[in-house]
Amino acid sequence: MLLFCPFCGPRDETEFHYLGEPKARPEPAAEVTDAAWAEYLYVNANPRGEAREIWLHRTCMDVLVMTRDTATNATLSVESSRPA
């Protein structure tokens, strides 16, 4: 499978590392319950179909926000977390 890095272009999937779903960390840390923290760490939407995912391109170290169809593996859009 080929994935797309906004800087490097299409590269083999082995160059990428999945970091997780984009979601906000619960704050403030001192007031976060164990249940809320566990949900943040372990509970994911993991949808079938269109999903937003964070990936790391291991060679250039760009962090990407990718919208991907998890059923077909088609990449719908990708953007760098860094300014161009």
Binding site: F7, C8, G9, R58, T59
Partner: protein
């Protein structure tokens, strides 16, 4: 040799692998400087006129820069340039003359070795010379007789071992 014994380390410079069809050698005496930030300003100061190379682009014997990321590159020079390490004017230099190593693979079998190690579409090109080769993060350039790999030195032995089995 017992499997728990360490194998003798290969030469750091010189011929690393000699196989039918190809050889791999580490050239001696190159200078290497990592630069971050404003790459144009860094190159103007450290290696004026040096070309910035992307994936598998022809590398001259003279000074050149291998692009790693948007704002990072490895400047390769025929000899160490002794850049002052640290930040200045929007860019940063880190001398890595001994921190990185270069392997030049040459011979009729070099294209086959390249295909075994690298899954990227080299004909399509890329602004970044950084790629996974045999699972190692390297900077890949083309040479007249084959290709060159620039790798962080701790990986030199493992990468040489892989090449010996290619």
């Amino acid at each position: 040799m017992r499997e728990t014994d360490w194998a003798p380390a290969r030469l750091i410079e010189g011929t690393l692998v000699a196989r039918p069809g190809f050889s791999a050698r580490a050239p001696a005496g190159l200078g290497r400087t990592l630069v971050s930030g404003d790459l144009a300003a860094a190159l103007a100061a450290l290696a004026p006129g040096a070309p910035v190379l992307g994936l598998y682009e022809p590398a001259p014997k003279t000074a050149h820069a291998l692009r790693i990321a948007r704002d990072r590159a490895l400047v390769v020079t025929p000899a160490p340039i002794g850049a002052e390490d640290g930040w200045r004017d929007g860019w940063c230099a880190t001398t890595v003359d001994d921190g990185w190593a270069t392997i030049e693979v040459e011979g009729d079998g070099a294209p086959s070795v390249l295909m075994q190690g690298c899954a990227a579409d080299l004909a399509a090109g890329s602004p970044s010379a950084a790629v996974l080769f045999a699972g190692f993060r390297v900077l890949l350039a083309r040479t007249p007789g084959g290709f060159s790999l620039h790798v962080e030195r701790p990986w030199l032995e493992a990468l040489s071992t892989w090449l010996d089995g290619a």
